[in-house]
């Protein structure tokens, strides 16, 4: 009984230490921006620590490549086993602070039948967008008509927010190399 107690104590201390340890220096989750999700709930990237995740940037009124970005995430989800899928989270961050309110993101969730148990859509302010795009290496520019021109990319993060892999092959058919990297990350 006492041994069990010591074991439990050790495990919980180790857990606390891991949670309290600062993020690694190369973690993209260090970006200090404040986000709101599709339900209007506030979150920071640092709170996304723990577990493998996919991340990318998009904007909800995008007519062309952004639906493909969502397809990319869904394609990867689809290619995984249920056990693998359960461990993978997906984060879609908006490039468009002026138009992408949480309600707009909620509409995307409904329209694209997105599972918000594992997927999160987020929106921040203009400065947060610039910083987030900068750590992710995403280039973008707002066009004269309000649309955005931006890199279409899917990025794989480890549990501490370090970039493990990225692909610019977007669409429902997953990039095999990227999918292999996702699987490998989920195994470790």
């Amino acid at each position: 009984m006492r041994r069990l107690f010591v074991l439990l104590l050790t495990v919980s201390l180790a857990f606390l230490a891991a949670a309290a340890a600062p993020l690694p220096g190369d973690s993209v989750l260090r970006v200090p921006a404040n986000f709101k999700d599709q339900d209007g709930k506030a979150f920071t990237l640092a709170q996304r620590r723990g577990g493998v995740q996919l991340v990318t940037m998009f904007y909800s009124s995008c007519p062309y490549a952004c639906p493909l970005i969502i397809d990319t995430g869904k394609g990867i989800d689809h290619a995984l086993t249920p056990a693998e899928r359960a461990k993978l989270r997906v984060l879609l961050l908006s490039l468009d602070p002026a138009r992408d309110t949480p309600a707009k993101l909620g509409a995307v969730v409904a329209k694209r039948k997105i599972d918000t148990a594992r997927w999160t859509l987020g929106t921040t302010d203009a400065s947060g967008v610039r910083q987030t795009a900068a750590v992710l290496g995403i280039r973008y520019r707002q066009l004269a008509n309000g649309e955005f021109n931006h890199s279409s990319v899917m990025i794989l993060l480890d549990a501490d927010g370090r970039i493990l892999a990225r692909t610019e092959k977007i669409g429902a058919q997953p990039d095999p190399e990227f999918l292999a990297a996702v699987r490998k990350a989920l195994r470790t």
Binding site: D26, R30, R130, S151
Partner: protein, 259 residues
């Protein structure tokens, strides 16, 4: 002369500066429609600029030292590598010491975009957009747009042919342009807020379908005014950078919306 010295004193005394009107550190630039060297398909290369204020000079080592003193997370050795690569402020003698290779009145260099962005935010400002930088940098001492003058182009280009290991001059040594802004050319390269928007391709018409697919939306870009090499080199350099990069001749200045 007296006035210049007085301004210099103000710049070195942040406490005094806080009490003084911000106009002493910034020049007011009227807005206008501007033909940028970046010829975007969607805008026809025309940029509509609102009035803004631009720092008269690039940020100096002394000013950046004040910033890292007040904001320890931006000190060399403390800044996370995701925000600044290992060469960040490497010419400084120490995290809080300038030393012989980084004089107080030289422009600060070896700073990442994140650090430049954080500096400007710390004083309630922001980095200028590329268009704001280019607009102010089109002026010479007497004209607001001197770009068509071959002699002006020649003079700017001569700077780029200097060996890059020449020590940097002090800020404010060159004459002010028609807006009262100094050192836009001839001293350092400068970060802009939207450096990541410079999606440059050599010729957008030759862009292959798979390259176009990398970008959401087909807002292609070409280079207008191919003779303006000096400004085009800036675009090429900025478009090749990542936000954590630093270089030995890349600094910055801040901007503000017109109050």
């Amino acid at each position: 002369m007296m006035k210049t010295r007085y301004l210099g004193l103000l710049l070195m005394a942040p406490l005094l500066l806080a009490a003084a009107p911000s106009s002493s550190r910034y020049a007011s630039i009227p807005g206008g429609i501007f033909k940028s060297v970046l010829d975007y398909e969607d805008s026809g290369g025309k940029v509509q600029l609102k009035p803004y204020q631009l720092m008269r000079r690039p940020v100096t080592n002394a000013e950046f030292l004040d910033f890292v003193r007040a904001n320890p997370t931006w000190q060399r050795g403390k800044v996370p590598v995701v925000f600044a690569e290992s060469r960040y402020l490497q010419s400084w003698a120490g995290p809080l010491q300038l030393g012989g290779k980084a004089k107080p009145q030289q422009p600060v260099v070896e700073v990442s975009w994140f650090a430049a962005d954080a500096y400007c935010q710390s004083i309630g400002a922001r980095l200028p957009t590329w268009a704001e930088w280019e607009y102010a940098a089109a002026a010479d001492e007497t004209r607001r747009d001197a770009r068509q003058d071959p002699a002006w182009r020649e003079r700017i280009l001569s700077w780029y042919s200097r060996p890059s290991n020449t020590p940097l001059g002090n800020v404010g040594a060159a004459p002010a342009n028609a807006y009262g802004v100094q050192d836009l050319h001839g001293l350092v390269w400068e970060w802009t807020e939207d450096y990541a928007s410079m999606l440059v391709s050599g010729d957008s018409r030759e862009q292959k379908a798979e390259d176009r697919l990398k970008f959401c939306g087909a807002g292609a870009i070409g280079m207008d005014d191919r003779e303006n090499y000096a400004v085009l080199m800036r675009v090429a350099m900025l478009s090749a950078l990542e936000a954590d990069d630093v270089t030995a001749n890349l600094g910055f200045r801040c901007a503000l919306a017109k109050p």
